[in-house]
Amino acid sequence: MPLIEVSNLEKTYINEGVSTPALQGVSFRVEKGEFAAIMGPSGSGKSTLLHILGFLDRASSGEYIFDGKSADEYTGEEMARIRNKRMGFVFQAFNLLPRTSILENVKLPLLYSNIPELRWNKMAEDAIEAVGLSHRIHHESSKVSGGEKQRVAIARALVLNPDVIFADEPTGNLDSKSGKIIMEIIQKLNQETGHTIILITHETYTAEHAGRIIMMKDGEIESDRKVEKRHEAKDGFRK
């Protein structure tokens, strides 16, 4: 059973009486443990698609089946619970809470889970260790570099060990060196811990870290291909 299955997905935004189609009949499947990159120029509908896949928005028509159950069957509250437990998000703009420590930022999803508080610190520390930031655990999130901020965001996405991580242009705001470290971490999450990854990017180099590239244009899938020679992550990264 695929983890993600969309068929004929459509999304139309209606703004002041003008309807703008963002997705026009998108269909594909993503298996558990897969690393798929969604590529396309801006306005191609890739972010809209990610929002629907990430339960942050609903499609106008078509079907989205997540782990065997149609998205239409979930209430708003159930969707929030799934976002919390089974999905992780990494955004281009990091979206960390300012004036708050790295540890507290990573603990944020735990606040909305039903995991007893006793375990929160350990879980957050493990996630921070996985992105190599243990030495900065008590630093304020606004006082670390961009690359480190994104690593905090990845740790936050990881802390509840979700099935799938949605990364929306995670290297978009970073220099190439930091971007590389981020891609190494993401690739490692896929290869070593088996997380399903959906990556949105408009850079071919970044997309080629994935096993598969779904190319979008004007709200439709233009191509869907396997990456023949993917860029491999180096062994770890400098701490």
Partner: protein
């Protein structure tokens, strides 16, 4: 999310904007401070007034000319002249009011007293020596006038300590003659310093036989009051009834509704006065409560700003699994915490102000003003301020909760 964590999250949210949070609660602090201060000072005033009424003694009855005031706004014809010499004589007859122990007619008014080059405007009290018992006053020097002095309209006067100080300074006043309305009065007694007793400050008073006061000072034939002592407390209601029957007969009144006098017991007076002070306190507290509403609007304003400012944070929290309810609760708890803390600080300030007021009043007005902590007002104040947070916080909180996560995340 547990309530504890909602509380913690809200606290962090407020602490991040310390200055703004403190300025926001100022409105609520002022509102609660004024309510607590007003209620506390009101209670102090009430207990002072009631205490002084109680000081009259529970078997003391006042017969007052004019119609009984109807309700607190009723009009009292204080100086109507319905109490006459003949009424006094009728009430003094044992067969009319058998339980009457003593009766004292009273006339009073403000007149200037002169001695040497000094002038002092004193309250002149025309009374009998019964006044010493009713108000528990006695001359520190000299003596009080006697029934003979009353009968002979003697030109003798007993003065309060302040009157003595103002007119005679350090020198001895006994035997000296002071002038009121062109007539000389010989000082036969000086009262000890007493301060406020019941509604009167005897330090500022000069007491003369009532007959003398009627004839030489006020030029009237009627009385301003009869002060009656019943045999004991149990006899008060019977005495009141007998006085009413006698006076109606004397004045030819059949319908009690047309009485041109009224009889007041300390219990009546207390009931009437507490109604008045309660109404005053409620009135002033309601005015103070307006600032609470203003404070509430301030809270709403700032919470709305906060929601807009933290739109991205709200989007993030939703993306990470916060439900509508989690966000709603977070912002609502923030608003309630703001007003709750404001209410708490307001109670402290209110208590401090009323403590200072009671101290100042005791010192400068020489009254025994007791400070009372208005615990019910404090609890109500705290509850009301939390309710203000709830009412004015609900709109911003709903606005925050209904934000779509992607809209919120996209917000710049």
């Amino acid at each position: 999310m547990t309530f504890f964590h909602t509380f913690k999250t809200s606290l962090v949210g407020l602490k991040t904007h310390r200055l703004r949070s403190s300025l926001t609660i100022l409105g609520v602090v002022i509102g609660i401070t004024s309510i607590i201060a007003v209620v506390s000072i009101g209670q102090g005033a009430q207990s002072l007034i009631l205490g002084q009424v109680a000081g009259l003694g529970s078997n003391t009855i006042a017969v007052i000319p004019g119609r009984q005031p109807q309700g607190p706004s009723g009009f009292v014809e204080l100086f109507s002249n319905s109490l006459k010499e003949s009424d006094l004589a009728a009430l003094q007859r044992k067969e009319n009011v058998p339980t009457l122990k003593r009766i004292m007619p009273v006339v009073f008014g403000a007149e200037s007293a002169y001695y040497g080059g000094e002038t002092y405007r004193a309250t002149i009290f025309g009374a009998s020596d019964l006044i010493t018992q009713v108000f528990d006053i006695f001359p520190e020097k000299g003596s009080f006038f006697t029934d003979d002095d009353i009968r002979s309209r003697a030109d003798v006067i007993v003065i309060g300590s302040k009157v003595k100080d103002e007119l005679f300074g350090e020198s001895d006043a006994l035997g000296e003659r002071l002038k009121i309305k062109g007539k000389n009065f010989r000082v036969i007694g000086v009262l000890s310093k007493k301060g406020q007793v019941s509604f009167f400050n005897f330090d500022e008073m000069a007491i003369v036989p009532y007959t003398t006061a009627q004839q030489y000072i006020f030029g009237i034939k009627h009385f301003h009051r009869f002060i009656v002592q019943a045999e004991n407390e149990a006899a008060v209601s019977r005495t009141v009834r007998d006085i009413q029957v006698t006076l109606r007969e004397m004045h030819g009144i059949d319908d009690p509704a047309k009485d041109d006098f009224f009889v007041e017991t300390p219990a009546d007076l207390m009931a009437r006065l507490s109604t008045i002070t309660n109404i005053l306190t409620i009135f002033l507290a309601s005015i103070a409560a307006i600032s609470l509403v203003v404070g509430g609007i301030g809270i709403m304003n700032i919470m709305l700003v906060s929601v807009t400012e933290r739109t991205r944070e709200i989007g993030l929290r939703k993306a990470l699994g916060a439900t509508r309810r989690d966000i709603l609760r977070q912002f609502l708890v923030e608003a309630i915490m703001l007003t709750g803390v404001g209410g708490f600080i307001g109670i402290i300030f209110g208590v401090l102000i009323s403590m200072a007021a009671s101290l100042a009043l005791s010192l400068y007005l020489s009254v025994s003003w007791s400070f009372s902590f208005p615990i019910s007002a404090a609890l109500t104040g705290l509850a009301v301020s939390c309710a203000v947070g709830l009412i004015f916080g609900i709109y911003p909180a709903r606005k925050a909760a209904s934000l779509s996560p992607i809209e919120a995340l996209r917000y710049e």
